[in-house]
Each structure stands twice: as C-alpha cells, then as structure tokens.
Amino acid sequence: MATLRITDEGSVVDSQPKGEEISLAQWREGARPEAGRFSLSIPNTEDIDGLAEIVARFDGVILEFPHFTDGRAYSQARTLRERLRFKGEVKARGAVLCDQALFMARAGFDALEIGDGDPAGFIRALAAYSVFYQPAADATAPARVLRGAKREAA
C-alpha cells in the first residue's frame, strides 16, 4: 500500500511497511510482539484514553476511516498525540482522500495510506492553507498566537 509520510522535511511516498502490524483484537486475545517494529491497528469505535499502556509499547498506530464522512479517527489521533503524548507514527487507513489530508495532518497523522491516489495532489492539498484558527496536534501556530506575537514585535 502506497503510504505518504509527512515529515518536517517534506512528504515522501513509499510502499515499505514499517514493521509488522497487529490489531487491537489480536492483542486482547493475547498476541504479543517479540522483536522488531510493530504497529497496532485500532478500530475507530475505541476510546483511546483507555489504551495508554498498550499503545506505549508500539512504534506506530493505525487508525481507520471506514468512509471519509466518518470522522471519529480525528478525535482518536488528537487524543493519542496531545494527551497520551504518543511519539510514534500515526497512520490513516481507509477512505483517505486528498481533500481531507490537511485535516488529518493537523489532527496528528504523519502517515496516510493513499492507495492509488495521486501523491502530487496530496502534497498540494497539504500546502493549501497557511493560516489556521485553532490549536491542534500539529506544530502550526494558530492565528491568535501569531497575532499576539505580531503585537509584541510592534
């Protein structure tokens, strides 16, 4: 699966999985990764707050968009980043369309499974905006902070 990885240096596409993957259901049935890199896939109906101890053991988390209109994984991603302070890769899977890419990046996703989507379109969409009104899980400063900084400088 072609994956767009969003980094501070820009976005790159590769098809290499970053280690093995197990599902939350498998974990709950007793599956335990041995050595190497592992990602945990979590259904979008799960309360992320309750999974802090589990996700801490993984290098990456995969969150699902069964349909692009189903936005539950945005809340999961922000909770992972902002409350659980998860530092590994957070990957979006499912209905991942370029027109939602920037929302995903802001919510804390740094990898998007884009399938046969046009990488150039995704990269364009990620740069479509330079102003944001609200703080989220990414590093961008919201307008209200920039306004304050501008006033200080003046």
Binding site: T69, G71, Y74, R78, Y133, R147
Partner: protein
C-alpha cells in the same frame, strides 16, 4: 463590527483558491458528482430541484452596507436579481451556475464574507441575537463570543466530519431572540454567584423529525474556558454520536438517551483537557472585543418632537412604528425591523434593488450596520428617533415597510417543494395565502403576536415545532396535506407544539387557521397573546374549532 485582519483574509482567499481547483476538476470531468458533492457542500453549494443553490454565511447575522451592496451585486450579476434570507441568518441564491461559483466566492472575499460551513456535517454558521449591542439588558455583547466561536470552528481539523450538522447559538439577554434552546448547543451569557461572567451551556436541542428542548449541562462556565469546554462537548459527540442512522445522529439523541451520562462524560473530558492550550488567550478576546465597541451615539433627548408629530400626522407610519420599531438601550434611538414578509410574497426574499436601499439606509442612519434575524427579516439596529420618519418613507418606497413584525403574516416558511428536493409539500404558497387572508393591518394588529411557522417536510426547516401555530406539509397518496401543531415557542419559554389531529388539504388549510384565530379572539383575556390563551385554555377548545364535534369521537 468585526473586520478581517491579514490572517482572516488569507484563510478565506486560500479557501476560494482551493474550491476553484475543485470546481475545475469537476467541470473537466476528473471529479464525478459523487466525489464532488462533499467538496461543494463544504462551500455551501447544494444541488436543488432545478439548479445549484449557494448559501452564504452571515456570521451571527451582522452585515455592513458594503457587504449588503455586494450581496445585491451578486444577485444581479450571477442570479435572477434576488436573494433569500434564511432562518440561520444566512442568505441563499437559488440560481447560480457552477462555473461562476468561484468568482462569487471571490466577490464575497473582497468584502470579508464566505460560504464556509454553511452546509455539511460540521459546525455551521454561529447565530445570535439580532439586537446585540442595541437592546437594553444585555450582560455582554454576544457577538464577541460568536466571533471567537466562528474562528475556532472554521476548518476545525477534528470536527469537520461529525455524525451530523451542528448548530450553535449565543445570547446575552433574558429574552431569547436566538432560539438557543432548539440548537445543538445554546449558550446564554450570565453572571455567576460572585459577579463573574460566564455561560449557561445547553446541549441537545433541535427540531427536525424528533424535536427536543436543550438540557442545561452546565449552569455556569467561566467565560475564559468557552473554547476548551466546547471542544469537550464536540469530542464526546464526535466519538459517540450515531453514524448508522442519519435520523438519529444529532447530539439531541445522545442527550435525550441519558443527559446525566452525557454531562458526566463531557465534564470528565473537559477535566482532562489542556485548557491553557485550547482556551483563547485574553489578549485575543480583547482584540475581538475592540471590534464591537458601541458606536458613537449622539446625546439625545428621550423623546423626539418630529417623530411624535409624524406619528400623529401619518397613521400608516404610526402603525409601522407600533409593530416594527423597538426601544433602544441608548436614549433617543430605536431599533428598526424591516419586514421581508410583504403580503403575498415568499418569506425572506429580497430583490437586489431593495438590498441596495437597505444598504443606503444603514449607511446614512444606522452606523453602517444591518442585521439579519432568524425570523427571516432584517434590522437596522441604531436609528435616531428623529430619523425614523425618513427611514420609513424610504422603506415604504422600496416596498419594505410592511407593518407586520411578530404578527400573523410574519411567517417563517422553508423553501418547500417549489425549490427543495426533500420537501413533500409546498410551503411558500401556503404562507402567501395565510398572509393574504389577514392582509388587513388593523385586523392583524388586533390579533396581536402570533408566530406561524411552516415546513414542507419533517426536517422542519420552517421550525413548525416552535410556531404558536405550526404547519407541517405531508404527502398523502400523492396529494399535499398540512398538519397543524399548536403551542410551540422558540423563545425563553421554549416549548414544542402538539399535533392537533388529521391534516388539511391545501384548499382547507387557510380556513383552518382562520378558525383557530376566531376561537382565540372569542376566548382571549384582555391583552392575552394567542400562545398564552392556548396555554390557559388547553388544546380541546382549539381542536373543537378545527374539527367540530368529530374531535370527540
């Protein structure tokens, strides 16, 4: 009024550029209608029965004359010369061509306007009291907080794909002119025990198929925590709102199932949230507040001799003053309501020429301010009493001086089957015929306050649940029928109307309304409104008027 700075301007321009690209992809065939639909909906563009419809946001209903002139210009150049004000203080154009829409959005951006989040399952345009900053008794200016919420909710990365659309309304008065209790979130600015300012937070109100009055989930929220608390409510809703059934997806369903549990979850989420990061800094709130400092009112006498003389000399003017002019908090000033309900015309419609006339009046007489009301009328919030006669004469010449605010012909109606592909029945012709039946202004004034609200289907865009008389269009074996509901109110005494019985055909419905009014007049106490008489007398009296003895069998 709020004015854009470079950040607001940049965001709106970037939005137009993005949508221009999406429209080009649609026109070239790269995007199917199915793929394009969610993108156009996020920019307020619907595909209706006959054409595209563009809904333009008017945040909390405030407009400058420059903005109103631009709306008129768009109506003339890109539409059929008119626009339609909605129950969310927005304006809709019913006939734009897809290829023109990016240009229309550019024209709007030139005057600090947009169509962002006027549709789709996101946080919609914030609504508020149309008399904000003009009416006596406000605890604060609700526009300050409405603007803060507008910015926070625009292109929110977490809350743009909710289970359903989400509506927030703000008021700062005891009297509720924003129908906050029938919103997903209603915010009432109030004082706390120690005089501190904050919000009563109500959640889970709404109309539609299953109407609910909102529950108060927090009696007092200190104002500095508004955004972090809203984030907590939205997150719980985004997580738990139903996605398997769009008729059960609004937050009202979650709240109605277990309001105490919903409150507990919100409070728990909020307790754990990073308030320092989520809440707006005080200097940002101060910055927004500076945009809403009161205009430089003149020091005037409370009474105006010219005004009193004109009232005495011109009975039509006097009648209009009685219905369409309200007291202002500033001595010597008044609030003017402009009815968009001329007898026999579609409620909320306004021509480009009329928009220009309103813009001229606002510029000359109302500190350049215009408001749209959720009852589909307009308002000039700050007019000197000395100027009222001149304002009335200009409105009268523009056919905008119908003296019927709050009366039986001031009807809210959805677009209905004439425009909407969801509707089961026409709404506008029913509104027109009821208004015609009670066209005599003396009679309408005698009937007094009476809110008639008409929806063409159970989605309730015409707010029939909160009409003193609510009318719901239904389809009965291919024929349009109209059910009557009585006793609803969208005000501080909010209540949901109760259905009376079998529906009426299109040819019967106006007579049925007349029978209700007749029985009210026969039984009312001195000065008693229709709604109060209904509440006192109970439904049976009115059912009997509608159905005769048949109601008892």
């Amino acid at each position: 009024m709020y004015r854009y700075d470079e950040f607001d301007e940049t965001l709106v321009r970037e939005r137009v550029a993005e949508f221009r690209g999406q429209v080009a992809r649609r026109l070239s065939g790269e995007l199917s209608e199915e793929a394009f639909k969610p993108l156009r909906l996020m920019n307020g563009l619907y595909l209706q029965l006959h054409a595209y419809m563009l809904r333009v946001a008017i945040p909390y209903g405030t407009l400058s004359s420059r903005q109103m002139r631009r709306l008129a210009h768009i109506a003339s150049v890109y539409d059929k010369g008119y626009g339609h004000f909605t129950t969310r203080q927005n304006i809709q154009y019913n006939w734009p061509a897809l290829i023109d829409v990016p240009d229309i959005l550019d024209e709007l951006a030139d005057v600090e306007m947009h169509a962002i989040q006027t549709s789709g399952n996101c946080i919609r345009n914030i609504t508020s009291d149309p008399f904000a900053g003009a009416i006596a008794g406000e605890i604060d200016d609700p526009r300050v907080w409405s603007e803060l919420i507008r910015q926070w909710s625009s292109l929110h990365p977490e809350f743009s794909f909710l289970p359903r659309k989400f509506k927030i309304a703000v008021t700062a008065s005891a009297e509720d002119r924003a129908a906050i209790k029938v919103h997903d979130i209603g915010l009432r600015i109030r004082k706390g025990a120690d005089g501190e300012r904050g919000f009563e937070v109500m959640v889970g109100g709404g109309l539609g198929r299953t109407p609910y009055i909102a529950e108060t989930i927090r009696e007092f929220l200190p104002e500095r925590h508004l955004l972090s608390y809203l984030e907590a409510v939205m997150r719980i809703y985004n997580r738990l709102g139903r996605r398997d059934n769009k008729y059960k997806a609004r937050v009202k369903i979650l709240v109605a199932e277990d309001a105490a549990e919903f409150r507990r979850m919100v409070e728990d989420e909020w307790a754990r949230s990073d308030k320092d990061s989520l809440d707006a800094p005080l200097d940002e709130i101060r910055r927004i507040r500076r945009h809403f400092t009161p205009p430089k009112f003149d020091r005037l006498a409370a009474e105006s001799e010219a005004f009193d003389a004109a009232r005495a000399a011109r009975p039509e003017f006097d009648r209009w003053v009685k219905t369409n002019v309200l007291p202002h908090r500033q001595r010597g000033y008044a609030i003017v309501l402009i009815s968009l309900k001329p007898i026999g015309k579609p409620p909320g419609d306004i021509s480009a020429r009329q928009m220009d006339a309103v813009a001229d009046l606002a510029e000359r007489y109302s500190f350049d301010e215009i408001r749209a009301t959720h009852e589909q009328n307009l308002c000039l919030p700050h007019v000197r009493k000395d100027d009222l006669f001149a304002v009335w004469r200009t409105l009268d010449a523009a056919e905008l001086a119908t003296p019927n605010i709050g009366l039986v012909s001031d009807i809210i109606a959805c677009p209905g089957l004439d425009y909407c592909d969801l509707a089961n029945a026409r709404s506008i012709p029913i509104a027109e015929r009821i208004a015609e039946r009670f066209a005599d202004p003396e009679e309408a004034a005698d009937i007094g306050e009476l809110k008639v609200k008409i929806s063409g289907c159970i989605n309730a865009c015409g707010h029939h649940h909160v009409g003193h008389i609510g009318i719901l269009g239904v389809d009965k074996k291919g024929e349009e029928f109209y059910q009557i509901m009585l006793g609803g109110s969208g005000g501080a005494d909010a209540s949901l109307g109760v259905i009376t019985g079998r529906g009426f055909s299109s040819s019967e419905i106006v007579d049925a309304v007349e029978r209700l009014i007749r029985i009210y007049k026969a039984n009312r106490d001195d000065g008693e409104r229709f709604l109060d008489a209904y509440r006192r007398l109970g439904p049976e009296t009115f059912k009997e008027a509608l159905y005769g003895d048949a109601a008892h069998h």
